[in-house]
Symmetry: C2
Subunit: 464 residues, 2 copies
């Protein structure tokens, strides 16, 4: 059918009786107006001006009508291409070039991060394939390809995120006869990883990319927290340098970068994009055409106007995200100060300052618990040597009873056939972590952490 649409250009005065496209005069909508935060030069810190001042905060508006605007409704509301409307692709390409200057890549619009990542999985995997990922990862995404027959190979992480040497060890020792085709895909979140909050250093990124070249695997770089990177002293402000992405160092076209606006605009946007080689782009579009079809017009209109001179422009977007980065850094610092005062002081838990994202990965010093055991023989076939899993389940329940909701490490364990990998050091013995966020309301952080500390003290005293 697409081939036929192309044929419509054969002659200059071709008339089409081919498609069931409603005429734009029959769309019942003719004007769309958005009022957004101002990022004008005069506004020094756009995010704090915006959130502090409520209805009186400086704003700017843009309007799209049937025939006017950067992306008029006449074009936006019609059936369109799976990769997105050309104007929207253009602004998103400009944005990607601004931050990553990829050598030779094409953007494909998505319906947000979950859609983008699951389309990459779908595109790259055949039933029976193995994909690599961080041993703790965001389960709603790693669960996605299971029904398609993908198996996960968890890679160990430390405070600095995925450990390149562990990756190398897995791939070097891979036995295709016993284990099937060697993993050809690594899925990773390089900044403020969910749930551990880790950020890969430039050095680790280069090492991992070199391994990708050596073992010929593709890197799915899922980077929703890219713009929420923090500096050491909190003072770098406008000159802050964002960490180079995998995309920016990709000379082979082996990186598929998934971008999202959920964390820097709003989750309801449900519009993001994948940046990849032209080859993967073509396949992605085919996949879009047989599943979700083209992205929604309202979001594409918003994004196109927003990133054009009618809205923020890319320079304004950059001012917004830099201001937002500082706002989240302030929240992180406030959260950590409170955490140190309330929780670390008990000596029963600790946490590192995350360099990006929204999460603190709290380590519970579970070996101090009076009922901790390291010589357990499980009857259910588990290779775990400790009772960490049981104790952490108990702690989680007690924290809930204490009036705080946290996320236990157990729900982030990458789903895999655990007996196949690292049975000498099973992840069940390393579940003594809780994911906490500093993205929520600041007013509740202190009481929440005080409750958490109280529960820890009672739990480790084995009372209540």
């Amino acid at each position: 059918m697409k081939a036929i649409w192309r044929l419509t250009r054969r002659k200059a005065d071709m008339i089409s009786l081919a498609n069931g496209d409603p005429h734009f005069t029959l769309y019942p909508i003719r004007k769309l107006e958005f009022e957004v935060a101002s990022v004008e030069d005069g506004v020094l810190d756009p995010v704090s001006s915006w959130r502090g001042a409520g209805a009186s905060a400086p704003s700017q508006s843009f309007t799209t009508t049937t025939h006017s605007g950067t992306l008029p409704l006449k074009a936006a509301m019609q059936y369109s291409a799976g990769a997105g409307l050309p104007d929207t692709q253009r602004v998103v390409t400009d944005l990607t070039n601004f931050y990553h200057s990829p050598p030779d890549h094409v953007v494909t619009l998505t319906l947000g991060n979950g859609d983008g990542v699951s389309k990459c999985f779908r595109l790259l995997g055949e039933p029976g394939d193995h994909f690599l990922t961080d041993e703790f990862s965001f389960s709603s995404l790693t669960n996605a390809p299971l029904s398609h027959g993908i198996n996960w190979v968890p890679v160990k992480i430390d405070n600095g995120g995925l450990v390149p040497e562990e990756l190398e060890r897995i791939l070097s020792n891979w036995n295709e006869e016993q284990q099937g085709r060697r993993p050809h895909v690594l899925y990773t979140v390089p900044c403020g990883q969910n749930p551990t909050g880790c950020t890969l250093s430039v050095e680790r990124r280069r090492k991992i990319y070199a391994l990708a070249q050596r073992f010929d695997f593709i890197i799915i770089e899922d980077d929703p927290y890219y713009y929420l990177q923090y500096d050491a002293d909190g003072n770098e402000g406008e000159t802050f340098k964002f960490m180079p992405s995998f995309l920016s160092i990709d000379v082979d076209g082996r990186v598929m970068r998934v971008d999202s606006l959920s964390k820097v605009m709003a989750p309801g946007m449900r519009l993001g994009w994948i940046t990849s080689s032209a080859l993967f782009h073509d396949h992605l579009v085919t996949l879009v055409d047989s599943s979700t079809h083209h992205p929604h017009a309202f979001g594409q209109v918003f994004l196109t106007e927003m990133l054009s001179s009618s809205g923020w422009n890319i320079s304004g977007f950059d001012r917004w995200v830099r201001s937002l980065r500082k706002e989240y850094q302030r929240r992180r610092d406030y959260f950590l100060r409170t955490f140190y005062q309330e929780v670390s002081r008990t000596g029963l838990a600790s946490a590192n300052a995350p360099e990006a994202g929204m999460f603190v990965w709290m380590k519970v010093h579970i070996d101090k618990h009076p009922r901790y055991r390291s010589d357990v023989q499980h009857t259910n076939g588990s290779k775990a040597k400790t009772n960490v899993e049981e104790l952490m389940e108990e702690l989680f329940e007690r924290i809930l009873d204490g009036g705080v909701v946290v996320m236990p490490a157990s729900i982030f364990v990458a789903p895999s056939d655990l007996n196949k990998f690292d049975s000498d050091d099973p992840i069940q013995d390393r579940l003594n972590f809780l994911r906490l966020t500093f993205a929520g309301q600041e007013e509740t952080m202190q009481p929440a952490l005080a409750r958490l500390a109280q529960v820890l003290k009672e739990f480790f005293a084995d009372t209540k």
Copy 2:
């Protein structure tokens, strides 16, 4: 993770440190305004008032802000449920009840028709399964489940659409030992079927539903043209009765109805819904959660305001679609009058008036062509007895050269292992149809049909 979210309700003063949800004060958008066609009582024929009067056409506006509106941005722009925001589900449920009064069903929002249908396919099919469908169907949808290993079983259609007796014959004769599991899914477009324009009569619908009960199959009712049903004399207007849908007669919960706004609002909306049993709904939500995630906020805000008292309300929507129905009926009638004058008069082609939708299925009287043969022995393994396929390819090329784009029947053949089904009456011998649309610009219909007639005359004279 969902189970944990539910636990947040355990205590009244629970504090959450669980989710990475940006606070609504950090969304850079605070106001969204839409200007839409007026459907006030004073406007007798909303569609013709709207399209005729341009910028001076009567309109109405609605505004949503962070805290005001039927669905305020504070709630709409956050992460939400896969089934859609509760307010949006509510208006869509009201709309479905208004037209179909289903006995016991639940709605799940989709990202438009393609997404809805392909999610149904994905939910209901396992690799190796057979699904039933109209022998000519919309290829971009029937291609979707092929990569998941679904096989299509084409069911013959006549002027009245899918033939119940053919369906019964296929199912009665099904041999599970030779052919695998008997088809448990029928995918069909009951109104203005794409590409044939056929509409199933009430009687056929009841027969097909009875077969579904007897052979225990599920009906995927894909009904984008439901609101574009036409009456015989064009005078019924406001009292026109829409045909009862499969959903409205579904007592068993075996119908999954896919609704779309592309044809009655605009294709760029990319928001629709599936109405199904609660059981299928639960599975659909799981599928949404591991693929596209929740639907986009801008569309949900628009639809919620539009179908509430802030916008059209359901009564206004009904006035719009009834007016739109008349508008398309006028176009259909104009198109057909021109077709009869220009094309039918040649005696080389004919067409029936479609009772719904946007398409005319033009039959080419190919057996009148001097090079038509009905005793062909193909060397490529085809069981076709005629050279219809070759002649129609030639005609299609000539029509393009003549400056008109149409859709050939060949691209709508349901993809299947043709040798398996009806090898005595292969569809290749019945490809003498072209799909024409009357949805496009009226000004070009007459010249297009005149050109088409001219090409037909030359082709059948075997000249040029």
